[in-house]
């Protein structure tokens, strides 16, 4: 049964997933050619100095990409479910509602995870070619909050889209956007070093938030 859910979600999301994955790979490649380009004009030592002392970030193009990915995946997956209240079909299936909703968000979560894994692997690889491990680690500490902004946006878009009452959708929005924005407070390196774990834990709170609105949808909430 879970395989069937995977199949359905895949049909809905394959274009969004494929497109985003290609975009991620293109961006990682861009980071690579940008460094190569810089090295043609400046000494490596100047670039290192700019990174270490002046806060130059060769990966800043990543900033909004996780957010965009989460949003597109969320829309591609859940908008077809609410047009003409199609979610009723899903909730009518002979599986517990929470279980089926959970398997749906697992699919999107997994796609996001695959993109993240591919891009992190690529970025670490590119960074390690040119820079010492201290710089690569700093890059990771800096971009992880951006990645979690994407996690928050994906799971909260599931929650918001499935909410049956428009007023509630609008009320949830500032909570989700407000929290995601905390993760994008700054793009300067290492600033989340001391709060990263707290932020990750709080971001994970959003994972099951879709069950709230799924439950409300099923009950036909009117307020």
């Amino acid at each position: 049964m879970i395989k069937a859910v995977l199949f359905k979600e895949w049909l809905k999301m394959k274009w969004a997933f494929g497109g985003l994955l290609a975009l991620w790979m293109a961006v990682v490649f861009y980071v690579y050619i940008e460094i190569v380009h810089q090295l043609k004009f400046y000494d490596a030592s100047i670039i290192w100095y700019n990174i270490v002392t002046l806060g130059y970030s060769y990966y800043s193009i990543i900033f909004y990409l996780p957010l965009l990915s989460g949003l597109i995946l969320g829309i591609a997956q859940f908008v077809p479910e609410i047009t003409e209240k199609r979610l009723k079909l899903t909730l009518h299936l002979p599986i517990k509602e929470n279980k089926i909703l959970f398997s749906m968000i697992s699919v999107g979560g997994l796609m996001l995870f695959v993109m993240y894994l591919v891009s992190l692997f690529g970025l670490i690889f590119v960074s390690s070619i040119f820079f010492a491990s201290q710089i690569t680690v700093s890059m990771l500490i800096t971009i992880i909050p951006w990645y979690f902004a994407g996690v928050v946006v994906y799971f909260s878009s599931a929650m918001i889209i499935l909410e049956p009452i428009w007023l509630r959708k609008i009320l949830y929005l500032p909570v989700a956007v407000g929290f995601a924005n905390l993760l994008l407070e700054t793009g300067w390196f290492n600033l989340y070093e001391k709060s990263l774990v707290t932020f990750i834990v709080l971001s994970l709170f959003f994972i099951l938030s879709v069950l709230i609105t799924g439950f409300r949808f099923k009950r036909g909430a009117m307020k």
């Binding site: 069937a4 049909l11 003409e84 009723k88 002979p94 599986i95 036909g220």
Partner: protein
Amino acid sequence: MEYAVQCVNLTHYYGKKLIYENMNFNIRNGSILGLLGKNGTGKTTTINILNGYLEPYSGKCYIFGEDSHNLSPETKARVGFLMEGHIQYSFMNIYQIEKYYSAFYPKWKKEPYYELMSKLKVTPTQKLSKMSCGQRSQVALGLILAQDPDLMVLDDYSMGLDPGYRRLFIDYLQEYAKAENKTIFVTSHIIQDMENLIDDCLILGYNSVLLSMPVKEFMNSYKQYRFKLSGNTEIDLAKDEVVNNFELVKNNATIYSFKNQENVESYLSKLGVGYEDLKEVPMTLEDAFIGITGKY
């Protein structure tokens, strides 16, 4: 278990607007119940409550003895559901959607589905969103038939269908119902199709149930009498135990009643209403439906 569906004291409001109060009805195993009513009388609301998509303000619905609000997966597997407008996953083609649903239902039979599909002129890769309304209704019907449920809940299957497809739908439903102990709960606003299909009918008015009885009994006992008024044409007859509904166009009057002609005539005499040419006029289910719900 005698009843596939039992609804007890259902009361529901949308905001402050009362939909119905203390509605009770049961659907016998193996019977076909038609839920009839004009737009906005709560047909889809009832279906939503029945399927657990809506929690009623008060009262309960039971499907195969289980609270409809909290159905177990096993019970859900026994219920086939046709959404209003034959909504299905429009991003799938007919093979994908069959493959998808087959994973969920242990009694899945794909033959009736593909038998229906073979009559449709669709290409294997054609998505549902690219099909006509009638074709989509056949896909939705085929899926329900393949599921082989014990209870079918059909929300306005006739919506947007031309007469051919409507007739096809009815034929399949009748054949399906012939099988042992299959129960169908159907809503429609095309009453004429119902006449030969349903066993029992439940007619909803605005905020109340107007009628609940077997169709045969209804058709046998519910009468229409026409007559001409002689003398005073300024009369209006209120509903009571004899008059179920009264219509007047110039001096042509119509009474709908569950009483026989003698009763009606003596009733009119007692009130001192002058009439001539009173005769019973045969009705179709649709006429009777209009009689009981009124034209407006």
